[in-house]
């Protein structure tokens, strides 16, 4: 906040004399607006990316006609949705019907306030950062149930209830796993968690405590997938099921809002996972953190911080993995979904919290038992060797099989 105040005074020297409430309002509004503008342009790109990626995975082309290579497709879809009539079915509770998408979007966009895009590039560095993210993201669950109820359609209500049950069940392992980096760092602030991973690729939490943290990351990722209703957990919005979910009765702009919320939640989850496990805005090699100064002739482009680019890349690759999973896997049935949450993810999460907590508390060095040196790296080296061995065998087997097949088919 101080940095924003200084910047504001720099821009408008007269602002130093303004009443405090105006200054505070401006300081709050400017980053929020910047954040919201950038983040709401996100879904435009994600939807296009999803359509193109799914198309290439399925050996087809995806949108090609609207704009070069279909780049304007999402814009065209948005315009179409905006112009569509927003139908209010008979008997809906109008106020709740309208508020529901708003709540879902609030739950989706608010976590961006605490995500650090750089060492000082964070709208608000709350010292309860992680807790805030979890709390505010739960608002979208309320919006979801509201949508199901207000639709006056028993199948929407069914779908909303199932969806709410799914989200609530997967919150628990997700939050348990969130505790693991928090325990290692000792602070809930996302900025502190990122700074604790400074020093290059090997100090990212994903690569510490070797087999435990990657498992924690996977558990968090899977739980997050279920929270955002993405495949393979997209039973609530499955197109080929009997009910089409909580947003059946929504059309036009409201549907666009639900869509936008879903993609934004995906990005939020990826961003939070990147911050917690992949080092946030830190570059894999510390030297790359700041690019600069580059002199071209007499022009000198001064040092440019690249933190935002790294976080963006990491979040994007996780978003890509989510899309990849969606187009690979079939859907889980509701009871199987619950089984995974309660009987697979939760036990693993509890065990992880216990084990990591135990090692963090060891007094050997300041950061706990040097797991990495004595256990982590040796295990990782063994695994790499094993994978290499497996790959060599697989290649040999493949070659032999290809020969067999070629021999079977007469030329």
């Amino acid at each position: 906040m101080d940095a924003t105040y200084a910047y504001l005074v720099q821009l408008l020297p007269a602002a130093a004399g303004w009443p405090p409430w105006l200054v505070v309002a401006l300081i709050a509004a400017l980053p929020a607006l910047a954040c919201f503008t950038f983040m709401s342009l996100g879904p435009l790109v994600y939807v296009y990316a999803e359509r193109k990626i799914s198309a290439f995975m399925q050996d087809r082309l995806g949108p090609m006609r609207v704009g070069p290579y279909g780049l304007l497709q999402t814009a065209a879809d948005t315009v179409k949705l905006l112009f569509k009539e927003a139908i209010f079915p008979k008997g809906v509770d109008r106020r709740l019907f309208v508020i529901a998408p708003v709540l879902v979007n609030v739950g989706a966009f608010m976590p961006f306030v605490v995500i650090p895009w750089g060492a000082r590039l964070q709208p608000a560095d709350l010292n309860v950062g992680v807790f805030y993210v979890v709390a505010i993201a739960s608002l979208s669950t309320v919006g979801l149930i509201m949508a199901g109820w207000a639709s006056n359609n028993k199948y929407s209500l069914f779908g909303a209830m199932r969806s709410a049950a799914q989200i609530v069940s997967y919150e628990i392992p997700a939050v348990m796993i969130l505790l693991v980096p928090v325990m290692i760092v000792g602070s809930l602030s996302l900025h502190d968690i990122t700074e604790a991973q400074a020093g290059g690729l090997q100090s990212w939490f994903l690569f510490r405590y070797f087999p435990l943290m990657p498992v924690a990351f996977v558990v968090f990722f899977v739980a997050g997938l279920a929270e955002t209703n993405r495949a393979p957990f997209d039973i609530p919005e499955a197109e080929s099921e009997l009910v089409a979910g909580f947003h059946t009765e929504y059309s036009g702009f409201f549907f666009a809002m639900f869509f936008m919320a879903e993609y934004t939640e995906m990005f939020v989850l990826s961003a939070v996972a990147s911050v917690l496990f992949l080092g946030g805005y830190l570059a894999p090699v510390p030297a790359l953190q700041q690019i600069g100064p580059v002199t071209i002739g007499s022009l000198s482009i001064g040092p440019v911080a690249t933190g935002w680019l790294w976080l963006w890349l990491k979040a994007w690759s996780l978003v890509f993995v989510m899309m990849w999973l969606r187009w690979t896997l079939p859907r889980s049935r509701v009871d199987q979904l619950m089984y995974i949450a309660w009987k697979v993810l939760l036990p693993i999460a509890l065990v992880l919290v216990a084990v990591v907590g135990f090692f963090v508390l060891q007094p050997a060095t300041a950061g706990g038992f040097p797991w990495d040196r004595w256990v982590g790296w040796p295990l990782a080296a063994l695994l790499v060797a094993f994978l290499f061995f497996v790959m060599v065998r697989a290649l040999q087997w493949n070659r032999r099989r290809a020969q067999e097949l070629a021999a079977q088919v007469t030329p």
Binding site: F56, D59, R60, L61, T328, K343
Partner: protein, 181 residues
Amino acid sequence: MRQWLADVWEGFFTVLVGMRITWRHLFTSPVTLQYPSVKWPLPPRSRMRLFMKYEDCIGCGQCVRACPVNCISLKAEKRPADAPPIWAANGQPIKLHVAVFDIDMSLCCYCNLCTYPCPTDCIYMTPEYEFATSDITQHLYRFAKKDAVFLTEDPKKKAAAPGAAAPPPAPQTPPAKPAGA
């Protein structure tokens, strides 16, 4: 407990196997042919729009009888006694005047059964498939022409005669427009 671990591992592993396949497919070339800008040639035996060469029709009605959906209507009258003799391209004399020969392509089921019984091979299916219209009556193709130019010499005799010209060429793909809708 062991079963549980095996289940979890198998679940995780099969997911990775599947992901590997879709990752590979991300880089294979797509098989889409973008239709209006790219039109690929159809094989020559393609059964699309029907065409009838009026100058070769002898009015026998075999195609009408063969059609399972009755999409061909034929009305043939005896030619006047004093009309000059005319022949089809394969040498068969034309004894009837075909007043009406309509094919309703909106009824046609594209089975190709009408082309086989034709003695002069004047009716055949062409690879022409882009004839969609917004008015269904335009799918009624009237092939009877008022100003048809028939062969007035027996082509078989003409070919056998010394110094005869080359036999007439085989039927080509017809023009895109129907013969008067």
